[in-house]
Structure formats: structure tokens, C-alpha cells
């Protein structure tokens, strides 16, 4: 049954990063055959949910400058960002904005026909380039449509990748399941790019799509690559109840307030200058502090929350610039933000961590790159600024696309060796270990348990006891016998896929908790009650987690790259 498909470049994941990479590679040379593999239909990737904006310096004549964007990013990261990477991001992104405009992106415009920008948290200039409040959606659509121009891009809709094939440290390909018919297939190529996005579904209360599970990260981890900085999970201040769907930061960028039960605009007590537009970690912590001080609201579900007030913006402004969140509010919360403040609560939103890579997006394997949220090239350090993630996806999408294409061109006639050894091991792992597994607990209950544990034990504020308790719970869940698939059909077996996803969630959740336990300081999104201060002497370094065949990950440290800014205290 070992079907082998051979392409020149394999891109796993079709979010912003994946599609951007595909276009760059495809336009480089018509003869390169590029496969875009995705476990959802290509244009359904999680990136469509991104709402607020893409940060870029466009108006230097109005006072913005590259330097300031770099510094904002590094300061936002609590100085854990690699500074050369942040520079690369900021220098590159303006051309991506223009490129998207040429490809048909419906950017919101100023009256004179130029691209408009709005305020976003943590920036010293309004530089979130936006298209209403559906930025990610429009970007995805623009990239997808542009991909259709190239006959050498092949879309593998609903192909689930399970593992990386490699020979030593050289990338060879992926093993995948074609979901439609259940075939287990080997796809090989000289170059590969992993763009599998974030893994926020390891939390219950999360803004992520159901498809945002860590199987991409886990795939790299199992192959021997390090996952970096996984303890840094961003909690976005404004997720609605009960679903966790996001109200974009753009809502505050347009002038929305956060209020507590005393009707007070409490952010003035925490970030006197930037108020609601302080970085997300700051706002989320302030919100939890307010709630703990008893100044929160109770949602009908029983959850504590605060309110986001947009009523003063007026109907016209909301309908024009925040149409999407008005729709979301009415539909999923029953509240029209024109008339009423909406209940919000900090919600799992972004993983700063990911597959360890360098400034070019290159991984520890030759021929394999990583781009987008799945990567951790350390642009975002300990805390990402809003609107910098779609930027990252676009920039490293094009960088890695270019590099992967170069390698593929130089290896055009070297058909990768097709040794079946790893393929057979993987087949055994997923078919014998999972598909025909003999667990008795319901995997979906296990998943609920796991994600609830993460919500409870490693939320905005963390402490040693909780984290250790959480880790214990995850490990005990892991040791239960739950790996089994009730649905034994071959075609479109989502049950099987779900169980594989849960399997990867276990490992990655464990890494998040272990990283959080080891980092005995508070930095960016990682806030320890027991170590409330930043500790640059001991922890100004990245966490790496390597797979260990005996189960527990092997934790290591990795230095941060500094070019020009020395760490200072972070105030807003």
C-alpha cells in the first residue's frame, strides 16, 4: 500500500504562511511542482479568523519609522525576541502589504485612495493595516485566489500529515492520510515547509478554530526537532462568552473601553499612558486582577468577566469598521455592540512558541523550513504584539518559499531515496497503536479533561503548585488507556483524526507546562505569582524541548540574539 508521490516542494498547512510560500515558490520557476497539503480544505485554514490587522510601517512621512516598529516589537516581547529576526520582519513587511494590494486585497482606504491603518496595542504609531475587521479572511482569500493563477501549485485538500520522513538530519518527505478515502501515502520532495499554525486547542476557552491542534508541532518534535518557548501562551483580553470567539483588538484600537462592574475604565490604573491599548499580556493581567478584586461581572454561564464598551463609537463607525464583530456579538452572544457593552474575558489566543528555527525560518533539518505560527524564529519573544502575527506569516512565507525553491531547483534531478523503514514504523504507530488501539476511556472525554486542566492550571497567572498539579493530571490522563477509534471505516474518518490530534495534544500540553514550571520568573505572557519579576540574570534565554524516547521531554536553554537594544523595564 505504499503509494509514493513525488513533488519538488511540500508545504504542510495552507494558512497565510503556507499559501504565501506556495506563491513565491511557484512564481520562481514554472517547472517546480509544489504540493500544498492541508488537513482542511485549503481556504478553510484557521487564518481566516484573524480579524484586526497586519502591522507594517507605511507612513514614514507622517512620523512612523522602521526603527520604532522594531523597538515596539522587542519591547512587546519583553526582550526575549531575537533582535535580528524582529528587524527582518519589520523591514520586509511593507512590501508584503503592497504586494497584497496588487493581488487584489480589499484594504480599507483613506479618502485619498491610500491604504488606511489603525491603532493597535503596544505600538507607538497606528500601524495595523486593516480591511474592515476581517483582515485574515481577506488575506487568505487574496492569496488563495492568486494561487489559482499558477498551474504548478497542487492543492491536497484534507490530507492529514502524520510524520516527517528524514534521513539523519535531511528532510525527505511526509507520511499522510488522504481523508476522503483513508489511504496512507508517502509524499517526498527535496524541500519542505511546515506551516501548520498554532495549537491553541489545547485550551478549552480558546479563540482558535477546532482544527488548530498541535499535530504539526508534534510531528517535528517526534522527528527530533526542538520546540522553543512553548510556555508563552498569549491570552487575548477580549474573548466573548461562552464560545471564546474573539472580539478583535481593533475594537479597542477604534476607541473601545474596558469597564468593570463599577463602571470604571479600570485600565487607567494599570497602564496610565496606553490604557486599553497596552500590549495584550498587560491588559489580560489587569482584567484578571480586577476580577479577583471582585469588580467583575458574572456571565449567565457563571464565568467571571468584564465588559467591552463600544457604544460611544456610534452605529456608523461600528458598521463600517467593525461589522464582523457586531455580527459575532449579535449571533454568538446575543448582544448588539452598538447598543450595549459586551461581556469579555481573557482567552487563549496565540502560541509564541513553536518549532525552533533561525532567522531564515530554517529548522534543524536540511531542506525543511517552518513559517507562520508553527514556527518559533523568536520574532515575538515572550509576548506577541497584535497584528504582528499575520505579518510574520507573510514575511516568512515568502522567505521560506524562496529558500525552499532554491534548494528544490538545485536538487531537481535527485529523486529522494525511498527507503520504507520510517514509513513502516509510522504505519505501525498510527494503525496498530491508535487505529486498532484498545482503550476503554472515551478519547473525547480525555480531551475535555485535558483542555480544562490547561484552562485552570496555566491561565493568565500561574504558580508552581498549579502547574505541577496540572502536569500530574496531564500525565495521568496520558497513562490511561484511551487510544482507540470506534469508527473503523476508511473514508473520511474524523474519529481517527481526532484521536491522533488528542495524542499530539498530550505531548505538547506537557511541554507547555514543563516550560512554565522551569521558567521561574514573570516575562511577557508568562506571569508567575510566585516569581512576579522578570529575571534577566537567569532567564533571558529561550526554552528548548527535545523529544526523549522514554517519554519526558529533555529541556534545554538557548541564547537570545541582541543587536542593539539592551533590556529595560517595560512600562506602558
Amino acid at each position: 500500500m505504499t503509494e509514493t508521490l513525488s513533488y519538488d516542494i511540500l508545504i504542510v498547512g495552507s494558512g497565510l504562511a503556507g499559501l504565501r510560500a506556495a506563491i513565491t515558490a511557484a512564481s520562481k520557476n514554472k517547472n517546480l511542482k509544489i504540493a500544498v497539503l492541508s488537513k482542511v480544505q485549503v481556504m478553510r485554514s484557521h487564518s481566516v479568523s484573524a480579524e484586526g490587522g497586519t502591522a507594517a510601517v507605511l507612513y514614514e512621512n507622517e512620523g512612523d519609522n522602521i526603527e520604532s516598529h522594531i523597538y515596539d516589537t522587542i519591547k512587546g516581547s519583553d526582550f526575549l525576541a531575537d533582535q535580528d529576526v524582529a528587524e527582518r520582519l519589520v523591514n520586509w513587511i511593507p512590501s508584503e502589504i503592497i504586494q497584497l494590494d496588487r493581488w487584489g486585497m480589499p484594504w480599507s482606504r483613506r479618502d485619498n485612495g491610500r491604504i488606511d491603518q489603525r491603532k493597535f496595542g503596544g505600538y507607538s504609531f497606528p500601524r495595523a493595516t486593516y480591511a474592515q475587521d476581517k483582515v485574515g479572511f481577506y488575506e487568505m482569500q487574496t492569496l488563495y485566489d492568486t494561487c489559482l493563477k499558477y498551474d504548478n501549485i497542487f492543492f491536497f485538500n484534507e490530507w492529514f500529515c502524520t510524520s516527517i520522513l528524514h534521513e539523519g538530519n535531511t528532510f525527505q518527505g511526509f507520511t499522510c492520510i488522504e481523508m476522503k478515502n483513508g489511504n496512507f501515502v508517502k509524499v517526498v520532495a527535496p524541500s519542505g515547509i511546515i506551516c501548520t499554525g498554532g495549537a491553541g486547542r489545547i485550551y478549552s476557552f480558546s479563540t482558535y478554530a477546532y482544527s488548530s491542534t498541535p499535530d504539526g508541532l508534534d510531528m517535528a518534535y517526534r522527528a527530533g526537532m526542538a520546540l522553543k518557548d512553548m510556555e508563552f501562551v498569549q491570552f487575548h483580553p477580549t474573548g466573548i462568552l461562552p464560545s471564546g470567539i474573539l472580539i478583535t483588538e481593533g475594537a479597542r484600537g477604534e476607541g473601545g473601553y474596558l469597564i468593570n462592574s463599577e463602571g470604571e475604565r479600570f485600565m487607567k490604573n494599570y497602564a496610565g499612558e496606553k490604557l486599553e491599548l497596552a500590549p495584550r499580556d498587560v491588559v489580560s493581567r489587569s482584567m484578571i486582577t480586577e476580577i479577583q478584586a471582585g469588580r467583575g461581572f458574572k456571565h449567565v454561564t457563571g464565568a467571571d468577566c468584564l465588559k467591552l464598551d463600544l457604544t460611544h463609537l456610534g452605529a456608523e463607525r461600528i458598521k463600517e469598521k467593525l461589522a464582523g464583530i457586531r455580527e459575532i456579538g449579535i449571533k454568538f452572544s446575543g448582544i448588539d455592540v452598538i447598543d450595549e457593552p459586551i461581556e469579555v474575558r481573557p482567552v487563549c489566543h496565540y502560541m509564541m512558541g513553536g518549532i525552533h528555527s533561525n532567522v531564515d525560518g530554517a529548522t534543524e533539518f536540511d531542506g525543511l523550513w517552518v513559517a507562520g505560527e508553527a514556527s518559533c524564529n523568536s520574532t515575538h519573544g515572550a509576548n506577541r504584539l497584535g497584528a504582528n502575527s499575520t505579518s510574520e506569516c507573510l514575511v516568512w512565507g515568502s522567505i521560506t518559499g524562496e529558500l525552499a525553491a532554491n534548494r528544490a531547483l538545485s536538487k531537481k534531478n535527485n529523486i529522494p531515496s525511498t527507503d520504507d523503514h520510517q514509513f513502516l514504523i509510522e504505519e505501525k504507530r498510527i494503525y496498530d497503536g491508535i487505529f486498532r488501539g484498545r482503550g476503554d476511556s472515551n478519547p473525547y472525554e480525555i480531551r475535555k479533561n485535558l483542555t480544562d486542566t490547561m484552562d485552570e492550571k496555566s491561565y493568565v497567572y500561574r504558580n508552581e503548585n498549579d502547574l505541577i498539579e496540572g502536569l500530574k493530571r496531564i500525565r495521568s490522563l496520558k497513562s490511561l488507556s484511551w487510544k482507540h477509534v470506534d469508527d473503523q471505516a476508511k473514508e473520511y474518518n474524523t474519529n481517527f483524526i481526532n484521536v491522533m490530534e488528542i495524542d499530539s495534544m498530550m505531548r505538547v500540553a506537557e511541554i507547555v507546562l514543563m516550560g512554565a514550571i522551569n521558567r521561574r520568573e514573570s516575562r511577557g505572557a508568562h506571569a508567575r505569582i510566585d516569581y512576579p519579576n522578570r529575571d534577566d540574570n537567569n532567564f533571558l534565554k529561550h526554552t528548548l524541548a527535545y523529544h526523549n524516547s522514554d517519554g519526558e521531554p529533555r529541556m534545554e536553554w538557548h541564547p537570545v540574539v541582541f543587536t542593539r537594544y539592551a533590556p529595560v523595564e517595560r512600562k506602558y
Binding site: 497542487f154 491536497f156 485538500n157 476522503k180 478515502n181 489511504n183 458598521k319 461589522a323 455580527e327
Partner: protein, 161 residues
């Protein structure tokens, strides 16, 4: 098995997977479920169009008896000028009125007139194209069809000799 890249660049290993077409076929044309007045009008326009075509062909045949002289004509009249024939004619009157009026509406809308302009849709979304002009056009067509049938009935049944 074997990879089958197709023109859409969405390869599949194919295999023995069977799919069943989900097309509704003719049922989809009249589709009983709730799609609004425009769907009703679509269906009536089609039905009346075909009905009229059948009548039209019949009518040509009917009148062709003329060439065979007065007897042939009269025996044809005997066939058609019956109560059943009149009821049929009544339906034709209704159908042609509806088809004509609704057809004129369609000619306008399908030329992009009276259908509205694109603009920013605000939630809850109401499609501009399904505006009251269209709906009233459909209702007027139905109303006129009813009136025409009433009038036709009066003419035919009122003073049949």
C-alpha cells in the same frame, strides 16, 4: 491506485472510494422548501412558458383546420369550444398574463435594472436583489393573471351562444 492530478490541481489517490451524486435533479427545480417568492416566480415562469408553448403549438394546429373549409373548422370548434376547452383556455389566459408580466419584470432585472446597487451589507443581511420591487412585481403578475382569468371567464362563460 495512482495519482490523478486533474485540471483543478487537486490530486487524489482515488482508489475504490465511491461517491453518490447529491444533485436534486428535477425535484430541485420546484423544490418545495422555503426559498422565497423569487423561487416561486422562477418555477411559475418555467411552467407557464412550457404550458404556453404547448398551447401555441396546439393553437397552430387548431387554426390550420381553416384550410380544409368551414366544416373542418366547425368540427374543430366543437372540440375546443366546450366547457373543458374553456377552462383550459382560462388557464392559458392566466398563464400568459403571468408569464408576460413576470417576463417583463425579468427582462428588466436581468438587465440589471431595478435590482439595486452593491453596497456595504449590514448585519442582519438582507439581500438587495430580493427587494420589494421584485416581490411586488411577482405579486402584481399573479394578481393580473387572476384578474385576466376572471375577465376571460366572464367573456367566455358569460355569453357563450
Amino acid at each position: 491506485m495512482g495519482i490523478k492530478p486533474n485540471s483543478e490541481n487537486t490530486p487524489s489517490t482515488g482508489g475504490d472510494i465511491k461517491l453518490k451524486s447529491g444533485r436534486e435533479g428535477l425535484m430541485g427545480w420546484l423544490n418545495p422548501t422555503r426559498y422565497g417568492w423569487e423561487r416561486v416566480s422562477y418555477w411559475l415562469q418555467r411552467l407557464t412558458g412550457v404550458g404556453l408553448l404547448i398551447y401555441f403549438i396546439g393553437h397552430i394546429y387548431e387554426t390550420s383546420s381553416l384550410v380544409n373549409g368551414i366544416n373542418a373548422w366547425n368540427s374543430m370548434l366543437e372540440l375546443t369550444q366546450t366547457t373543458g376547452g374553456h377552462i383550459f383556455l382560462l388557464l392559458v389566459i392566466g398563464a400568459s398574463t403571468f408569464h408576460t408580466v413576470n417576463g417583463l419584470r425579468l427582462i428588466f432585472t436581468e438587465s440589471g435594472i431595478g435590482i439595486g446597487r452593491p453596497g456595504r451589507p449590514d448585519y442582519p443581511y438582507d439581500a438587495t436583489s430580493l427587494n420589494y420591487k421584485q416581490k411586488s412585481g411577482i405579486w402584481v403578475a399573479m394578481l393580473l393573471a387572476a384578474i385576466a382569468m376572471l375577465y376571460g371567464g366572464m367573456v367566455m362563460f358569460g355569453d357563450v351562444s
